[in-house]
Symmetry: C2
Subunit: 123 residues, 2 copies
DNA sequence: TTGATATATGAGCATATGTTCATATTTAGT
DNA sequence: ACTAAATATGAACATATGCTCATATATCAA
């Protein structure tokens, strides 16, 4: 019945509808670490403030203060979000004196964002 | 100084580094509703369980029970996640008796997932 | 060095999220 | 009609998230 009987006691104990298919699918699934990394990446993009930051920076490099003014949020809030985006390799920065300019680390992210935007408009 | 002085008292009160740029960027930003919808879409993709579900269904249509067995999770947990993915137009389903088969609503999602996966491997 | 500016960060708080548990709903078989 | 099977769903709970506040760090100007 259950492919790994006893291992997952709380799993639905019903017979497989298509056991072979499940085995086949299981073999071609990504490793756990990769799946987690992918989910993390999407999580980094899953907040309106961060989407706005990315959208703004895809138009033009900006400093923290300009971003705070642009989005009507505190410098602290923006800075926390910038850190998260940095940690996910979505943004890079350069320092010019005490001003820190942020920009997209990679145009790939901008494409992914456009891809999702167009997916949404098509429904 | 502040473009909308008094409106955001807690916003960084410093002069703009480049006020014109901020005005320019502000004009080409998406509307709030659209930004929220985009973030919501990313949020739907921001969980390892949901990534696994999408990955599995991109290979083959499966029923709820098979998904639960495949992922080693309860039927209830999977069902809750499936609802979320349905609500975001990521999955569709068809009923065959009491068995409900889920599949991707659109190959676009699969492409977005691959896009993010390749972005990650490139660093 | 001292004071001011630009950014970063830790702690705390309110809200959101993912899972479990119990139960409801729907359909098939007898 | 009755029972069992497959799925759906509401409530509850532990953890995660995003913002604020206070404060630290870094750099410029005098």
């Amino acid at each position: 019945m259950n492919i790994e009987a006893g291992k997952f006691d709380d799993v639905c104990e019903i017979n497989f509808t298509d056991e072979e298919a499940v085995i086949l699918v299981r073999e071609s699934m990504s490793e756990e670490a990769k799946v987690h990394r992918i989910a993390e990446m999407f999580k980094a993009l899953s907040d309106p403030t961060r989407i706005r930051i990315i959208e703004a920076l895809s138009i033009k490099e900006l400093c923290v203060c300009d971003l705070a003014n642009l989005l009507g949020m505190t410098q602290s809030a923006i800075s926390h979000q910038l850190r998260l985006l940095r940690q996910n390799s979505i943004l890079k920065y350069r320092k010019e004196g005490r001003v820190v300019y942020y920009s997209l680390d990679d145009e790939h992210v901008s494409e992914i964002l456009n891809s999702v935007a167009s997916h949404i408009s098509h429904r």
